[in-house]
């Protein structure tokens, strides 16, 4: 089970540092609660997708190969 640590403005500041996105105190306070809500759900989804049953799944985003799409027709 994943545990959820609440996202604080201080944590947002750290994340912003990693992303080279410095934010003011006001921005940190605005971002923190929304990120907190989204991260909780995103971590739950990550936990689900990390299970052994889904080990072989490939992400939906792949390189486009023009001309190779005919195989997708399912009509």
């Amino acid at each position: 089970m994943s545990t959820h640590t609440p996202v604080t403005p201080e944590l947002v500041a750290q994340l912003g540092h990693y992303a080279a996105l410095p934010l003011s105190k006001e921005r940190l306070a605005v971002v923190a609660p929304l990120l907190d809500a989204w991260l909780k759900d995103a971590n739950q989804l990550s936990e689900k997708m990390a299970c052994a049953d889904y080990q072989a799944l490939v992400p939906a985003t792949v390189f486009a190969h023009p001309g190779n799409h005919e195989g997708e027709v399912t009509l």
């Binding site: 929304l34 989804l45 889904y54 486009a64 009509l75």
Partner: protein, 471 residues
């Protein structure tokens, strides 16, 4: 031939037929459109740019017709484009201050195709800034208002497109849909709109929101109109490598074929869970109508459907934050507050969150593809509530509990967005305040024709699409 109000009440298909038979001229249609925009848009804020030069284009269309040239099924029909669609030499803002003076040096492919089919552009439409949001409460060009009740929101992000069509200012509009941005304003404004199969319509020349989910499609008053417009836009585009080389159907051909024997999938634990009572009532009634028309309902369990909202929010935040990375650092104050916040949040999620969400898409798509062995389409509400007051960022769906608007509004639209499946939004009722309710019909990849057939069958025996807003 007709008064302005009579012309504006014509469906696109009717107007096109009257132009073809020379009972109505393109100039009459454009004049009616521009007059209607001038009459009501000061309050609705549906348009960012209005093209009075469209009248000269209409005159040229008349001259061509008189010379025996038929440009196509949209010859002389006034159409408006969402303002994230490039038109060469004409301001294209994407509803933003960042691009407030951008003059593209090219046309978007869909704009070229519509023009080649005879469409006349009367303006560019307001939207949620950069399409990143569902309210169309635009801080730079004014909040778009719902013509059914101007104290209510029009949904979004293609809010201007939904309002422009519902308020009879044009005969069709183009919207874009990443997480629901065509279907949501279609439902909230009581009109029809299609999110095509991913890869069916070119995105070339459209300001992106999230590359892996972006689509563009028509928004109209009737399913027949939507099918007519869609046929002019769909198809492979060498300028967009994500488009598919799949033949384009004749979408008008099957519209009268009915739905006898059509198998309609319903996911009982999700499609009718956590929604306002009038929405549930209207969509269940629509399902009964389909049964009366000869379709059969099939209950299907999509085991992994829960989790789709988080996956959508993750992808729809990480991809825009990548596109906007430079501007967010150089011009943060040029963004509205809500979009700036979403872009900042998108920079804080991890690559593993993004990729697990993309892996979830593969899982969800496969489950739907397996289910299509048992059903031909799925039908569910477009969104779980009707139009909320302008400016609200919270919504109450049940039990008096306030919820975040962005997550709540994506409850049903996320599934087609994540799976790449086509989805047609069709009006199917009204709530106790006279606000529209919509359903979405979700189909197999590249099977938009079945969606149009089902939608047309529904509209052949209902009159929700004939109702006009009071404005």
């Amino acid at each position: 031939m007709s008064t302005t109000s009579e012309l504006l009440e014509l469906s696109l298909t009717q107007a096109a037929a009257l132009v073809k038979s020379r009972q109505v001229s393109p100039v009459e249609l454009v004049d009616a459109s521009l007059a209607r925009i001038a009459e009501i848009d000061g309050d609705l804020h549906a348009y960012i740019s209005v093209y009075t030069q469209a009248r000269e284009v209409a005159k040229a269309a008349e001259i061509m017709q008189a010379a025996g040239h038929d440009l196509g099924p949209l010859h002389g029909i006034p159409i408006a484009l969402k303002d994230n669609i490039a038109l060469k030499g004409l301001r294209t803002t994407a509803g933003s201050k960042v691009l407030s003076d951008w003059l593209p040096d090219h046309d978007a492919t869909i704009a070229s195709r519509l023009r080649a089919s005879g469409a006349i552009f009367v303006g560019k439409l307001n939207m949620h800034e950069f399409a990143w949001g569902g309210t169309s409460d635009n801080p730079h060009y004014g909040a778009v208002k719902n013509p059914w009740d101007t104290s209510r929101f029009p949904a979004g992000s293609s809010g201007g497109s939904g309002v422009a069509v519902a308020a009879r200012t044009c005969w069709g509009a183009i919207g874009t849909d990443t997480g629901g941005s065509i279907r949501l304003p279609s439902a909230i404004n009581g009109i029809v709109g299609i999110r095509p199969t991913y890869g069916r319509v070119s995105n070339h020349g459209i300001i992106p929101l999230a590359w892996s989910m972006d689509t563009a499609g028509p928004m109209t008053r009737t399913v027949e109109d939507c099918a007519l417009m869609f046929g002019t836009m769909a198809g492979h585009d060498a300028k967009d490598p994500t488009t598919a080389k799949v033949p384009v159907s004749d979408y008008m051909a099957g519209l009268r074929h009915g739905v006898k024997g059509l198998r309609i999938g319903v996911v009982p634990g999700y499609f009718f869970h956590h929604l306002q009572a009038p929405v549930e009532k209207a969509v269940r009634q629509a399902l009964s109508t389909f049964e009366q028309l000869g379709a059969q309902l099939v209950e299907v369990d999509i085991h992994n459907i829960h989790g789709n909202i988080s996956a959508q929010l993750t992808i729809e935040s990480c991809e825009p934050s990548t596109y906007h990375q430079r501007w967010l650092r150089e011009r943060p104050l040029d963004y509205g507050e809500d979009v700036r916040t979403l872009l900042e949040v998108g920079e804080m999620l991890l690559a593993t969150h993004y990729l697990q969400a993309q892996r979830y898409r593969s899982l969800l798509r496969q489950e739907f593809m397996d289910a299509f062995a048992k059903v031909d389409v799925f039908i569910c509400p477009t969104l779980p509530f009707t139009a909320t007051p302008l400016g609200d960022m919270k919504v109450v769906i049940e039990n008096g509990i306030e919820e975040d608007m962005l997550s709540a509004i994506m409850q049903y639209t996320g599934v087609p967005s994540l799976t790449g499946l086509p989805s047609l939004a069709v009006p199917c009722g009204f709530d106790q305040d006279g606000l529209p309710v919509g359903m979405q019909i979700i189909g197999k990849p590249f099977d938009e024709a079945t969606l149009f057939r089902a939608g047309a069958a529904f509209q052949s025996c209902t009159d929700f699409h004939h109702k006009a807003p009071p404005i």
